[in-house]
Subunit: 741 residues, 2 copies
């Protein structure tokens, strides 16, 4: 229970907490209460008694297969088959309904036709079953009637205080010691280990289970969440965060929940355990396919990338890549540095590994003097004693046994990559074993590559203690090594903090609300600038004017040179319509500009009452950037930053992140655009006030979270100069949704 | 012999032929003569008698292993073991020297210690052996003495009119019908097929042979070229070009020969057969590794990329990727369109495949009305009848048998991708067989993905005629499908033509030679502009001047506004040194600029005789681009094109190609830079004179090929405007090497 109370209480709808790091749990924790998200998951993931409702005598029926898998897996508890007619199934006494079971039931698998699910689940509730896993399909995924049926199912589950996995799923597995529940209908025998896996696709889950069996990687848990009506990814993540059996987490998902809910959990958890995610549905066509598959509309892929990057999760783009990364994370300690020693018996793969390592940001280790001396003594003349060490034909199992300990001892080496290509008569199993046995008792990671049939090294993880990961190709090993080092490196970085600035929130909201009350739309430019001002953005000084006399007086007060712009909110593309005239140096030019704009407005079909405009003091020319906000239909608000200016815009040099932004996020945004050197200063030119730019991004993040109804914002251009005082937002666009929306 | 004479004669040092397409063979062909590059290769690749010199009785000796492989492979000819003492080896009569063999020998494998190679090869020459394959190491790869030994070896081979593979290699295999020579010491039994493979690494070659055996892909030839002292990649490519047994070509190389020699062969051959290349040594560290491995200095990777792109070869970045591409090319017909139908029994992999297809430029097919109607009738409600077709649990072997023929018949589908994830009790072998058998007798490509143990589909290529490629993951299948379509698409493109412009070559060479005679270095700016003028580039009008009076007179003649620049060739970075003053609108400003420049020259420590400068008419402002030439130590001259301008330069928006450029190459260069839309015109602005830009790139290509001693050239900026007459080179730098170099 000590463990439980530590977990503390977190609201399941916990929003961002801008004044603290988003991954901090302290802010939301109240000792003594359990996070509702993980409430009841113990019964589900550590059951002592399980019922299979719908276990039929037919050997190939799904219920029977689950029952068989559970028995064959030697579940450490009691399993009760339930079937309306059968007296026994799989030689086991069978009950006509869950109500007839004489003992308590922690978890019931529901494997009856869709139309019969509701009454069966109701019986579970009445029986006091604590959790259910609904395998049956026929819910949200078939649309129409299925959607209503899923709503009723969820109601029923909530009413009875149960938790539910599914419906429409493959099942769930808990391989932790003392449980050993192989509760899916997949033809796979999962081993026990440290990997917790969540799959949004059942069929892909089958494939994953089989690959993991082949790779001999063990699970703590495997959950196919199906339609995730009740239990969602966020709940399982929260449970796995503190779970002592889970060391590595992997997810296959086709859509995320609300990033404001999932984000904070992910940010926290990735600080402690690596989380590898495959998110499919990356392209529009892929999304349509995902959409017909899970009924969930997917987010733009770059937004998903940004989100995962911010949370510290590791994104794999293919199942194969994920398998490689998990092999690494589950079999090797995380590297503490990036200096790699490559040992090979073949030049070609050594070169290819070196290429891949250096491209991925790793360093080739400079051996210590001691290592170099020993290698010099040991190696024959034809071998290369540099890094990569190329043993050529001299490299047999014994050579690897001699040299690997030297590399393990060298303090200048953080990671060892040992490649072996079997030459002529050599059985690769010997060299594979030499590599596998080398790590025993050491905590430096070694990655093996045996370029031969998998059968030559497949059994090693079962036979050799501390067996390192072994791959069939150098690039896979290198990919795992790079992502594992990056994971280590991210953990060393400061956590990042959000900032809460003193702002005039109410004033800004009032400006928005005025337009929202009229049904929403674009704000007049002057109002946009006022909203920015409320949030502490530097803006170019301006005055609203009506008629030429006011314009001239305003210019006089602000000081020339000035710009003259129309104010009306129907003119959204003012510049393209010729309704913005810049750099007016004196009264004469301002008068000319005024007349010109007036004529253009009339040509566009508007009349005299549109003489309202404003005069703005020209900002000192500098580097132009864009700051913006849009709303992704699935991921919610997205903050954009990029280079501005007419031409550079064409190069689309922008990057996006999900709010709330931390200071670390903003620095990462800077580094993500190609034009960053222009802001830092090139060819002896001074850099711009990056501290102000960072502050403005953080202010924007706060604004997006605090203001209601904001659906689009563009600050373009935001002009930057070396001095903070010479920086200002020059123009802005804000769109709000109607108050009723 | 008709075949032979067709091949025609090509000089092995054939340079580029700028007036014709570089891949045209007509220009170099003289009927009746054989290309010296392929001379003698028949004896090597189609031998009727083979000697193994160094076949020792020790079962694990390399010579004995080669002998064993050849016998076990059932070589369709006679093999003679040669050993100084043994009376028999492997139960075969053995000869004390090659001279003792009573019959003719087409090919001798030399497997004796390095120091004994020369006398043995000399004996081969005296015996009249037509070709040799030197397995023995101890040559160039060990440096020093080895380099000299290799030179003597080559001398000997040439003197005796033999051809040689190696030294330091794995051997060579010829699996064409009527030969069946498995002549390597790799533990592999290659099958006969249409793949010709060249490997620069012996050990990697072993791995390749084993993978191909696993994938059941057959070879026409496999050659490990080792140090390639005599026979090089270009020779084998030339041979395979016309070889009727070779349908697909693959290369693993660590360095290329001269691209001006290899390029034309590759350009020709890729028009007829796909060529897949892995080039390792991509990074500086990888190159050092390659360098210690093969003693060959490697080229910058982007240059290699450009070169392969121009030749039409397909670059694979890893061995695994290459294996996937070869599985596709060897097992499926090349797609004739890019409309893909995806059939799956599992949503997740269907989505991932769709993502990968669309990202790679393919299209999701819109089914014909007929197909849609049949699918509607056939599919149960839970299946998705869009593309991807998701059969869900309904998808078993029989379903695939029913639906695949419909997709084969649909004229709106060019490619079929059939995915299968084995659900619970289903044996994937049935579905794999259903997919494998579907293509029989059809020429539309189908790519299968079976997400299960390889063993479930591994035997199918041997059992099923026309068996399509089957992959374990969707992304591999998609990658193969995309590269195969791109190959098709490239073959449809016009071949591209080089152009030969009327230029004043001799004048330009004379300008260069004047500096070369002084030991080389940078040309004075005015000379650079003259060289450009000789080659027909538009240049901004200018006059050299000495003293202020001449400068004023020149400006008067050219017309204001003008720029004033110093002329001396010691001022290479004129702009950064403040020795270029632009946009002088009148006499007064020119005088001011003149004085300023003069003061700066004195400050830099130069004196009055450096008053030489020039006055240049200002060009109408426009888009600035860079054209350039540099020399890669390995790949030779490289042409660079990119966006210019101080800031955009920071974004490094440039692309490179190897001369000679064709018109198709230049269009590809345009499309390769991000700023291309700026040149085409954005936001209603007119585009620049792209035809002139294209012409200038072609002129640059001609210049690079024709002028001797040119080692560096920069035209920066080259100013572009919509009208051709408003475009001009404004400044240029040229460096030449000394005449003695």
């Amino acid at each position: 229970m000590a463990k439980q109370s530590q977990r503390g209480r977190r609201s399941s709808a916990a929003g961002p907490e801008p004044s603290a790091a988003p991954e901090s749990r302290a802010a939301a924790a109240e000792p003594g209460f359990e996070d509702p998200a993980i409430q009841g998951l113990d019964a589900l993931l550590k059951p002592r008694s399980v019922a299979i409702i719908g276990a039929s005598p037919r050997p190939d029926s799904i219920g029977r297969v689950i029952l068989h898998n559970i028995i064959e897996g030697d579940f450490n508890g009691v399993v009760y088959p339930v079937h309306p007619k059968a007296a026994f199934v799989h030689s086991m006494k069978t009950y006509p309904s869950v109500l007839a079971i004489p003992d308590e039931v922690d978890l019931a698998y529901v494997v009856v036709p869709g139309a019969h699910v509701l009454p069966v689940v109701d019986e579970c509730g009445r029986k006091g079953v604590r959790s259910i896993c609904v395998i049956s399909a026929g819910f949200r995924e078939i649309g129409g009637e299925g959607i209503r049926r899923e709503e009723e199912l969820l109601d029923l589950v909530r009413r009875h205080g149960m938790r539910m996995v599914g419906p429409n799923c493959l099942g769930l597995i808990s391989m932790i010691p003392g449980v050993r529940l192989n509760g899916t209908f997949a033809p796979a025998r999962p081993r026990s280990g440290g990997l917790a896996f969540l799959s949004q696709s059942g069929a892909l889950g089958v494939s994953i289970l089989q690959h993991m069996e082949r790779l001999d990687i063990g699970f703590s848990y495997f959950v196919s969440i199906g339609n995730s009506a009740d239990i969602r990814g966020r709940d399982l993540l929260a449970y796995w965060e503190d779970d002592p059996h889970t060391e590595v987490i992997a997810l296959y998902v086709e859509s995320f929940g609300d990033p404001r809910v999932v984000g904070p959990v992910l940010r926290r958890i990735t600080r402690r355990k690596p989380v590898v995610i495959v998110k499919s549905g990356r392209t529009a066509a892929g999304m349509r396919a995902a959409s017909s598959h899970t009924g969930a509309m997917s987010a733009a892929d770059e937004t998903v990338d940004a989100f995962l990057r911010q949370t510290g999760a590791i994104r794999a783009y293919t199942i194969e890549e994920m398998l490689g990364l998990l092999t690494g994370f589950c079999r090797a300690p995380v590297p503490r540095g990036k200096r790699v020693a490559v040992l090979t018996n073949s030049g070609g793969p050594g070169i290819m590994a070196t290429d891949a390592l250096v491209t991925g940001g790793m360093e080739m280790a400079q051996f210590s003097e001691k290592t170099s001396r020993i290698l010099d003594d040991m190696l024959p003349p034809e071998a290369s004693r540099n890094n990569p060490i190329d043993l050529t034909a001299w490299g047999v199992a014994d050579t690897y046994r001699q040299i690997l300990p030297i590399l393990f001892e060298d303090p200048n080496i953080d990671i060892i990559l040992a490649l072996f290509v079997p030459p002529m008569m050599v059985n690769p199993a010997d060299a594979a074993r030499a590599i596998a046995e080398s790590r025993r008792g050491r905590d430096k990671p070694i990655f093996g590559v045996i370029m031969a049939e998998e059968s030559s090294y497949r059994m090693l993880p079962r036979e050799v203690p501390d067996c390192p990961p072994i791959f069939p190709f150098p690039e896979m090993a290198v990919k795992a090594c790079i992502e594992m080092y990056n994971y280590h490196e991210r953990q060393q970085r400061p956590r990042g903090r959000c900032h809460r600035f003193e702002v005039r929130r109410a004033d800004a909201q009032a400006i928005l609300d005025a337009v929202r009350a009229r049904g929403g739309g674009f704000l007049p430019t002057a109002d946009c600038m006022r909203v920015l001002d409320c949030y502490g953005f530097p803006t170019a000084p301006m005055r609203e004017t009506n008629g030429i006399d006011e314009a001239l007086a305003a210019a006089e007060a602000l000081g020339y040179p000035v710009a003259f712009k129309v104010a009306g909110r129907m003119f959204v593309h003012k510049s393209d319509q010729g309704l913005v005239i810049l750099n007016l140096k004196n009264e004469l030019e301002l008068q000319g500009a005024y007349s010109q704009v007036k004529r253009r407005i009339e040509k566009l079909g508007f009349s005299a009452d549109e003489e309202a405009g404003f005069v703005q003091k020209m900002v000192k020319p500098g580097r132009e950037v864009i700051l913006g906000v849009s709303v992704d239909p699935k991921m919610g608000p997205v903050i954009l930053f990029g280079m501005g200016g007419k031409y550079v815009e064409v190069l689309k040099d922008v990057t996006v992140r999900i709010p709330p932004l931390t200071d670390v996020d903003t620095l990462d945004m800077f580094a993500s655009i190609r034009g960053y050197p222009l802001l830092q200063g090139v060819r002896g030119e001074p850099g711009v006030a990056l501290d102000l730019l960072q502050e403005c991004l953080l202010r924007l993040s706060q604004m997006v979270i605090e203001l209601e109804g904001l659906v689009e914002l563009d600050i373009n251009p935001f002009v930057l100069n070396p001095a903070r005082d010479d920086c200002a937002a020059v123009d802005a666009r804000i769109r709000v949704e109607g108050a009723q929306a």
